[in-house]
């Protein structure tokens, strides 16, 4: 009985700020496009979080108005310059009990809905599909568990926009080469971990933020109501390019999702075939340039000059230009270098991509060795670890 009653009051209280703030006219006049507030979002949970946020916000505003009201009124009313004489009271048990008890009650009022919402957020059961999200410096990897579909999602904003040589696009720094595609009206369980340092995966429109921590698998979930593109960012400082690893989620209808999934599986097959065949030098160079600019240029720079001493130059280095360096060069790309920022790409990239990027590094930036590294050689190298 009391539960129903409380629930009704609660919804009434909840409703006022929601109506007030989400009214399109008001929202438009008050804020325009300037985003003065949290987004309401596109999931049930995001709307609940938004309501909670507005309720606490208004409670805080009321408290501030009352406290500052009394304070400023006292400051004006009891000015010495207007002849105010100080009173002598310095305690009042009743008042002191009241201003301890009333805040306590307000806090309990805040804590009840917060607890209810939090319990829902923690309920990851009965998910219809699972996506494994792995943070890398500085990109996200998405794996559709049980579907043999996985890919990296990299920043797609060109460096020319970042350093001001080109006009910045509408989704500057919030665009990726391949977004996470999810079906609407489906409970998706998100499993999060990291390959290196701690990252945090955040999409404001979904009200999902969870850390991706090496050695841990965290859980969260979402169920998106409307198709659309929802953008967020990494929110845990993860090194140099922390500001450059966006999260983009593309929500599509269930049918479109199935079509997309089939395409992805087809592409995976084609990609696997690429690992089996012989490539020509121009093909390797073309593919290698794409891979290099996505995975290597962040540290070794587009022109291969690096940022010594942390990130060595690849242009003119003995490692990339001399025949004796070839084996070490391949080994470094595949297994990384312990104690440095050089990551291991052996398990990240396909054999064809690895062959292409190593070939590219040995021929671009004026290195011109004429060396060709084939996928077969990479597969040979990788064998012992498999």
């Amino acid at each position: 009985m009391t539960g129903v009653w409380l629930n009704r009051i609660w919804h009434a209280v909840l409703w006022i700020p929601v109506v007030f703030f989400s009214h399109p006219l008001l929202a438009k006049n008050l804020y325009g496009d300037s985003n003065l507030n949290l987004p309401v979002g596109v999931t049930h949970m995001s709307r609940e979080v938004y309501s909670l946020h507005m309720i606490i916000f208004w409670i805080c505003v009321v408290i501030a108005v009352v406290v500052f009201g009394v304070m400023f009124w006292s400051l004006i009313r009891y000015r010495k310059s207007k002849g105010a004489k100080a009173a002598h009271f310095h305690e009042n048990t009743l008042v002191e009990i009241l201003w301890t008890a009333i805040p306590l009650v307000i806090l309990v009022v805040m804590a009840i809905p917060a607890t209810a919402t939090l319990q829902k957020i923690y309920d990851t059961s009965e998910a219809e599909m699972d996506v494994m999200i792995t943070g890398y410096q500085w990109r996200w990897h998405y794996e559709y568990l049980g579907q043999d579909v996985s890919f990296f999602s990299n920043l797609a904003t060109p460096p020319e926009q970042i350093d001001g040589r080109e006009q910045k696009g509408e989704n500057y720094l919030l665009e990726v080469d391949q977004p996470l595609v999810l079906p609407v009206d489906t409970k998706v369980r998100l499993l999060l971990t990291s390959n290196d340092v701690i990252h945090s995966w955040w999409v404001p429109q979904l009200a999902v933020k969870k850390d991706a921590i090496p050695g841990f698998v965290n859980e969260n979930w979402t169920r998106i109501d409307e198709p659309g593109i929802y953008r967020g960012q990494c929110t845990e400082l993860c090194g140099r390019l922390h500001g450059f690893m966006p999260v983009t989620v593309k929500a599509v209808s269930k049918e479109d999702y199935q079509i997309w999934l089939a395409e992805q599986k087809q592409q995976a097959v084609e990609k696997a075939a690429g690992n089996e065949r012989e490539w020509t030098l121009p093909d390797l160079m073309a593919q290698g340039e794409t891979v290099y600019n996505t995975y290597c240029a962040a540290c070794h720079m587009v022109n291969g000059q690096g940022i010594p001493p942390a990130f060595p130059a690849l242009a003119g280095s003995p490692l990339t230009t001399k025949a004796e360096g070839r084996a070490t060069h391949i080994e470094l790309v595949l297994y990384g270098k312990a104690g440095t920022a050089m990551a291991a790409f052996g398990s990240t990239l396909s054999a064809a991509d690895l062959a292409a990027v190593i070939t590219y590094e040995r021929n671009a930036f004026g290195n011109n060795t004429g060396d060709v590294v084939q996928p077969a050689e990479i597969k040979q190298q990788l064998k012992p670890t498999e």
Partner: protein, 537 residues
């Protein structure tokens, strides 16, 4: 009777004072060491502030213009470390050195040589820290919270120097805390009971216990980092079976009490200044003391509210949410007490009072956004965004720093014998208030709109707010040059101050001459508790 017997009657045989650098290197006088702390803190405030301006200049508009991301990360990291450990904490220790012995009627700190040592560790620690910026691979770039494994496996080689400097600063803090506790507990003038102590003394006593409790934890956590980096242990390395989240638990077990270390003495200063300029006894002295103690105790059980997104179990999230919300109660009591002190007072608005009133309002704004951050589901949206940056800067800059500046204006007449220039002080105040709010208020909005913290470049929809913050940042930074001007002028001269520099002031510090001579209270003074003082009848 010779002149010799006069000085022994004073209880001291004075050696001729040392001259030049030796006087400052070897001084054991609490007033001189207090001044050293304050000057050091001011220097660090400007170094850390310059770094903040580098950050604000880069964020003035979208795109990478002035600095590269690696240097930007070094700036955010160093700005935080220097402001926390180099500016705010030493400023409070400096005020404690000057004022605690004067307020309790003690001739000096209990352990004067230790006092000298704990000060001189600081310049050493911070030169070491700053020098790391010039080392190969750059300085610390992992944020002032230095989360592992970014600060261990992936850190620049200079991290070892960072660890050593944190150790040195930590030792300095621990020794300083021991000294303050020993002084307050043993050297009060006999008539002064604990519940008669001025609130600045009370808040510092409690702060000192917090320091003693948590600085060793910080020392422990940086030592574990040192072992992970150099000796192959895996405390925080998942690949070796370690636990990166353990780092955060340890860090915030230190870190949360640390934020109260930076605010409790500010409460003390406000509780001295408000009654003086309201000419009315502090409302609820006892509840102020109990509230301070409650905040200190609660500060040990709220640390995981910094970690709501790391994936703690539901029960832990709820516990830390409730405990955090509870802190609002004693904190509220303090604000209500200040307001009740103002109520029915006889209020005047000298510069120290202006800064204190601004402190109360702005700290309360920071406190209220703190309540919002405590609500876990909402925190998922705020966590690690500019909303958090706005929150903690509101409690630290318009909060703690304003209280420190208020304290400086309040006690400058006692230190120098002259009043600080009232007109310049007012200019300093108004420019600071406008600058600081212009800097930090828009950050609430950039955070809600979705801007993560610690990024050197941002999406276009955050541009307007960042522009405002940057303009405000430069205004606030530049107006602090006025503070230096005011202090330098005040040291050189001005309107002479009597012993009791402010009409409504109470307490032992106002019974000694202005400027306070090098040695005061060689014999314990008479003491009348404020409640029996004729001035506050």
């Amino acid at each position: 009777m010779t002149s010799n017997s006069y000085s022994s009657a004073e209880g001291h045989i004075h050696e001729p004072p040392l001259r030049g650098i030796k006087r400052w290197l070897l001084t054991t006088n609490h007033k001189e060491i207090g001044s050293l702390y304050l000057i050091f803190s001011l220097v660090m405030f400007f170094i850390g502030g310059t770094m903040a301006l580098v950050i604000r200049a880069e964020l003035f508009q979208p795109g990478l213009q002035l600095v590269q991301p690696e240097f930007f990360n070094q700036m955010t990291t160093m700005h935080g470390l220097i402001m926390v450990f180099g500016a705010v904490m030493p400023a409070f220790v400096g005020l404690a050195n000057w004022m605690v012995p004067l307020q309790i009627g003690a001739p000096d700190m209990a352990l004067p040589r230790l006092n000298n040592f704990s000060f001189w560790l600081l310049p050493l620690a911070f030169s070491l820290l700053l020098s790391s910026l010039f080392m190969e691979g750059g300085g610390p770039n992992f944020g002032w919270t230095f989360y592992a494994p970014l600060s261990t496996t992936y850190a620049p080689p200079s991290t070892n120097f960072f660890i050593l400097s944190i150790h040195l600063a930590g030792i300095s803090s621990i020794l300083g805390a021991i000294n303050i506790i020993a002084t307050i507990l043993n050297m009060r003038t006999p008539a002064m009971k604990l519940m008669d102590m001025p609130l600045f003394v009370w808040t510092w006593l409690i702060t000192a216990f917090l320091l003693l409790a948590v600085m060793p934890v910080l020392a422990g956590v940086v030592t574990m980092m040192l072992l992970d980096i150099n000796f192959g242990t895996s405390f925080f390395n998942a690949a070796g079976g370690g636990d990166p989240v353990l780092f955060q638990h340890l860090f915030w077990f230190f870190g949360h009490p640390e934020v109260y270390i930076m605010i409790l003495p500010a409460f003390g200063i406000a509780s001295m200044i408000v009654p003086t300029f309201a000419r009315k006894r502090l409302f609820g002295y006892r509840s102020m003391v109990y509230a301070t103690a409650s905040i200190a105790i609660l500060s040990f059980v709220v640390w995981a509210h910094h970690m709501f997104t790391v994936g703690l179990p539901l029960a832990a999230q709820l516990f830390f949410m409730y405990a955090t919300m509870l802190i609002a109660v004693p904190t509220g009591v303090k604000v209500f007490n200040w307001v009740a002190t103002l109520f029915h007072g006889s209020i005047s608005f000298e510069v120290p009072m202006l800064f204190t009133l601004a402190f109360i309002v702005q700290f309360t704004i920071g406190g209220l956004s703190g309540v919002m951050l405590a609500i876990v589901p909402a925190d998922y949206q705020y966590h690690d965004t500019y909303f958090v940056v706005a929150h903690f800067h509101y409690v630290l800059v318009p909060g703690a720093v304003f209280a420190i500046i208020a304290g400086v204006y309040y006690w400058l007449p006692k230190w120098t014998g002259f009043y600080p220039d009232e007109t310049l002080g007012r200019w300093h105040f108004w420019l600071s208030v406008i600058g600081v709010n212009l800097t930090f208020f828009p950050m609430h909005f950039s955070g809600l709109a979705g801007m993560p913290r610690r990024i050197p470049d941002y999406a276009l929809q955050f541009a307007d707010f960042n522009l405002l913050s940057s303009l405000g940042g430069f205004l606030f930074g530049m107006s602090q040059l006025l503070l230096i001007w005011v202090v330098v002028r005040c040291v050189r001269g001005g309107k002479p101050a009597p012993d009791k520099a402010w009409e409504g002031a109470e307490g032992l510090e106002w019974q000694v001459p202005s400027p306070a001579p090098l040695h005061t209270f060689s014999t314990p003074p008479e003491f009348i508790p404020e409640r029996d003082s004729p001035g506050r009848a």
